[in-house]
Symmetry: C2
Subunit: 705 residues, 2 copies
């Protein structure tokens, strides 16, 4: 860290100047002994290490103190490995002594039923009062591999000491260590925080720390649940502003996963769709499997992508080249078009039966001439349309594979763009090991490699195009029960917010209904008006295309009868008499919900079957700005329908954007009360004819008027 | 093979009684020498091996003959490794001498331009005349690992000798050998045919062979192109009838892949959608990446799935269990519900903080007690709702991982259902090696393992439910250019085939149009009638809702004017005056195309945006039978729309099925002439109200009438 940069609040946790180990032990195999061994034998810690033990005064030639209270100074970190029952007393001592960070590895707290949770809450309260932060409990600790410091009892720690530019923040331990073990492919994780129960410090805090940490270039996280959405969003926003990539695996994409994660961590997992939408807002690169974390993180550590998206495939087997090209295509990626120079150079060097257009199939000709791989691979890598070269290798072929690996490494030294060798064989020979040793970390399969490539290219595009980040809007809900406003009330509020709805008025009697209809002009629609009837159709409460006074009268009668039949206990306000929706056009749906973790989210999609059955929707955090509103519309699969596909008239997309922005402003102005808005359908006509919500449901936390 | 079973036509190619090696050599590193070494040093071949060399009379202590003509007997197989220029003379000798199979490894034929292709055609013609079959050319040969016989020059052959129940048929060599190298995970491939240019024998012929081969339990294939669809379908049908699983990777799912495969093999790759539809018809298990071939093949070799689909997850890490459960859910698979007995047994054995409901999180308690894994894993595997147990392991943890691997292997000995350990770490320790040695072939990642599991479960369902296989219908097209029939003609043919269309008649004049409309009854539709105008709307040729004689007259005028403007050179037949389509209902599309590889294919989907933009369609080979017609309807994403989703009336699905079957019979009866049928839209109303094509385009190979 630069000398003139203020220290991050967690700096002395991640790189403490002094440490107390509470629960140090010499008993072989005990937690206390393993932690002591990690700190002394396997760490390069130069500052004072205070051992705390109730009886022993000396351990392994080092002095020991009976309690934290007795220490000659307040250490930055107290590493606590005593049984749960003794933890409260130790935390009390730490708080009293002025310890900055209590790192509690012990389990038996929030994860262990109500009693444990209460004990955990008490620890947090005590620490907060003293200005002390808590890490854990119920975690394996923190390892700062770049500093060679293991604040952990794990016997595996000394085996996982490949330093590197990746920072890892996880809740659980097992999956986190899995990422560390990717060092076997040459992947270096420089820092791992495993936050366990997150009584106080959370994954989000370590993401925030790593945004500033100069030794960390890529932040990787694994989440089972998010307990504090705003804190996570704030950290992600800082990372996005610093353009430091964040890669995330979030459990909870299916009901099974949500249920298992909840029972494992007792934290809210939330909706996967909302979660992914929030990730996308901040450019977070989401993956689906744990090995994919390492693949994309390492690619990002090797090279920062920009807007270029051309990929080259370079291969010595025609079938392998074709398979790689096939997967590139199904992944929606683009193969580069080589320049004339590149083609001429390849044509000169390769035999006539080789394929010199992308994908390049050198044929086995390169096996006979060591320098040929170097020359031709370099020509490909220097092509101006190439952002990355994929070198899939289907086979371990002894000396030939080793020579190829050597050539790849040498070309990589000379070119700026990344070369990604893919080792497809289960047989790992000398060539594989050379690729690992020279920092390529070959992905485990063609499909996984191309998945990583896709994420790299997409991140490059996001990074280049990135505009304003969303302001986050987590306003605490007002202290009233949510209730549905009537349609009349809802529409009138929307009108006040600048959102046009159809001309309409409430009629309280049969005669008034006819009079209103005559004023608006036939045909009209009549709908039951009652805040108690949310599903109007089921109550025979919607009548369209009423062409004259008689039809309006009949509709009134049926509305009254229908409401009485379905909801005998409620009074209706009357009937809403409304201008007929324009014919033609397309139906959309626009919704707003308050996510318990992330706040207000806007959902947009085509209406009817598209949303109900095909689930073709997209989401954004509110408030919305124009570029994000435009982007979200283009994300739905059915956007072509709005955009004038197949000779259809182009819909009034601008009017839809204005509607979304006005709705966003409306929610922002009433963020404490708005719980849900459902504009479904919203009618949009051809360009110039506008976008109009035909129905509006607003649920707000308001006192009954 | 049983003594009383007739030999398969390829039996003496795959297991020859005698072999001639033409081009044998003693020059170290030459193709002839490598092949000789493979046949003598690395094969257990007991029959006579005749070496053919123009000059030498002896090689490595064996007699050599100057030509095939001089051999004392006609060998089953002549293995030909001479340069391309000498191959025609050798094939001539082989044909004359009565050799059964000429296996040509040499390249320089079909893959090497027009001259090579002509030379290849000549070889085939000569062989055919003599009743000799050709394997290759341009291929690495054939290896029968179960017999330990390498008919190949490959220096890698002696390293890939793990026999096993998997049979592999590929076109190219590189990707095929990649599957062989999966032996490093313990996967045994017993036979590999790599058919190269497929001048005569094709991948399909080896699939056909392996259906009968008792040493092959799972057939695996990798295809870049299909040159003979009926031959492939016949082989797949035999495999399906024998219930021997076929796993396939077909290149050509994207344009890039199709183009690369075409340039590599010069074979037709066809449409990926059609190809996948054909695979599904025969229960072929399609994969997306080459490592997935080995994963699913080995799972099928280990255990045959049935209709059971309950999966258990057994794990010592809560986070890993949750991630596995999550991916199981997003893959559409089902987690088992454990019986009371299973829960009681797990509850007894595991600590209170373990999760005993599926997914099981044993916690690290099992590390302290070796027998605990065995007891609890066995309890899970014996649960009646469990078809497979997934055991994801995130970490290499030294001795603990080794003990767990041992326990898994021991439990597998005792239970009938498969246990699938998943080794998620990049670190491969003793535990991994024990799993490999005991035959588990752990997949490379959680995602890949669950992808294999999904395919295993789906194959089990197909195998259990499998009804009649499709009759294949590859009828050569008639010798006329295809032409579009007029709508009148098209509808009249459909009516004759028992497919109801709307009441309609052709009107040749303005007056006649009005008269017809009065006869049918208003409102009517008027459409331009001309076989030259395929896109009627663009020619202002479609007018709907014509309510009276005046409206019909105006429509006539516009049709005539529109046709004249768009197609000044053509004469129109007049206007088709038609009954208005019933209102409400849902629009479908039904199409038939003649695929150049596989014959007539029927495509079904919801109409309009569903097919045009969302591509929500499904396909079947014709002719269709009732169960397959029913199944295909249920496959589209939007089926819920037909099935009465969200309070909609259920559509007349039975009428749609009758329509599909009638259309299938119609195509079958005119298989030589029908090129394309497009019924779009087809109107379907609520149950009982029928399904009616509103428009019909038929393209047929018929002489102009």
């Amino acid at each position: 860290m630069m000398a003139d940069t203020p220290l991050h609040p967690l700096a002395h946790l991640v790189a403490p100047r002094s440490i107390a180990l509470v629960g140090a032990s010499e008993r072989p195999g005990s937690i206390g002994e393993q932690t002591l061994t990690n700190l002394t034998k396997h760490s390069d810690f130069a500052g004072p290490l205070y051992l705390v033990h109730p009886k022993q005064t000396e351990m392994r030639g080092m002095q020991a103190w009976p309690s934290v209270a007795d220490l000659p100074e307040a250490p930055d970190v107290a590493l606590i490995v005593v049984p749960a029952a003794q933890v409260p007393r130790v935390v009390e001592d730490c708080a009293a002594r002025g310890v900055r960070f209590a790192m509690i590895l012990s389990s038996g707290f929030g994860e262990a039923g109500e009693e444990g949770a209460a004990a955990q809450d008490a620890l947090v309260a005590r620490a907060r009062a003293a200005g002390m932060r808590i890490y854990g409990p119920n975690c394996p600790g923190l390892v700062n591999i770049n500093l060679r410091l293991g604040l952990t009892f794990s016997p595996a720690y000394p085996e996982d000491l490949t330093s590197g530019p990746i920072g890892l923040a996880t809740q659980g331990g097992g999956l986190g260590r899995n990422v560390l073990q990717a060092m076997e492919r040459g992947i270096g994780v420089g820092l791992w925080a495993s936050t366990g129960n997150e009584a106080d410090l959370q994954v989000a805090d370590f993401i925030d720390y790593m945004v500033d940490a100069p030794d960390i270039r890529v932040i990787v996280t694994m989440l089972e649940g998010v307990s504090d959405g705003p804190r996570l969003m704030a950290a992600l926003a800082r990372a996005a502003k610093a353009k430091k990539p964040v890669v995330a695996l979030k459990i909870g994409k299916s009901d099974y996963g949500r249920k298992a994660a909840q029972s494992h961590t007792a934290s809210l997992t939330g909706s996967a769709e909302v979660n992914s939408a929030v990730f996308r807002e901040f450019g977070v690169i989401e993956v689906d499997d744990i090995d994919e974390l390492a693949d994309i993180a390492w690619l990002l550590a090797r090279a920062t992508p920009d807007a270029r998206d051309g990929l080259a495939i370079y291969c010595g087997s025609g079938g392998t080249a074709a398979l790689a090209a096939d997967i590139v295509g199904t992944s929606g990626l683009r193969l580069s078009t080589f320049s004339e120079d590149t083609l001429a150079s390849l044509g000169n060097d390769l035999p006539s039966y080789a394929a010199i257009e992308n994908p390049v199939d050198t044929t086995t000709a390169v096996l006979a001439d060591d320098s040929l791989t170097e020359r031709t691979l370099q020509a490909v890598a220097r092509d101006p349309d190439v952002a990355m070269v994929l070198v899939p290798n289907a086979l371990e072929y002894g000396r030939a594979s080793a020579l190829q690996a050597r050539a790849i490494a040498e070309v990589q030294e000379k070119v700026d763009i990344p070369i990604l060798p893919i080792w497809m064989s289960d047989r790992l020979g000398e060539g594989y090991r050379h690729l690992v040793d020279t920092g390529f970390a070959p992905p485990r399969s063609l499909g996984k490699a191309i998945a990583a490539t896709r994420r790299w290219v997409e991140y490059g595009k996001w990074r280049t195009a990135a505009g304003d980040l969303p302001a986050t809007n987590h306003i605490a809900p007002a202290d009233h029960a949510p209730r549905a406003l009537s349609e009349v009330e809802g529409k009138s509020r929307l009108n006040a917010a600048g959102i046009r709805t159809l001309q309409s008025a409430l009629a309280g009697s049969r005669e008034e209904a006819i009079a209103v209809a005559e004023r608006i002009g036939f045909p009209v629609v009549a709908k039951v008006a009652s805040e108690h009837i949310a599903h109007k159709t089921e109550a025979d409460g919607v009548h369209v295309g009423l062409a004259d006074a008689d039809a309006v009268g009949t509709a009134w009668d049926r509305i009254v009868a229908g409401a009485g039949r379905m909801h005998p206990e409620v009074q209706i306000d009357g009937a809403l008499i409304e201008e007929m929706a324009p014919s033609g056009g397309i139906e959309l749906m626009v919704g707003v919900t308050r996510d318990p973790v992330f706040g207000h989210i806007l959902t947009f999609g085509l209406g009817g079957v598209h949303v109900e059955i095909l689930r073709d929707v997209t989401r954004r955090l509110l408030p919305l700005d124009r570029p994000r509103a435009e982007a979200m519309m283009r994300e739905i699969r059915g956007f072509a329908l709005l955009d004038g596909a197949r000779g259809r008239p182009r819909a009034d997309v601008d009017a839809v954007i204005e509607l979304l922005l006005a709705l966003s402003r409306f929610v922002e102005a009433h963020a404490d009360t708005i719980e849900e808005i459902d504009l479904n359908p919203v009618w949009v006509g051809p360009q110039g004819s506008g976008a109009v919500p035909l129905d509006a449901l607003i649920v707000a936390r308001e006192p009954r008027s």
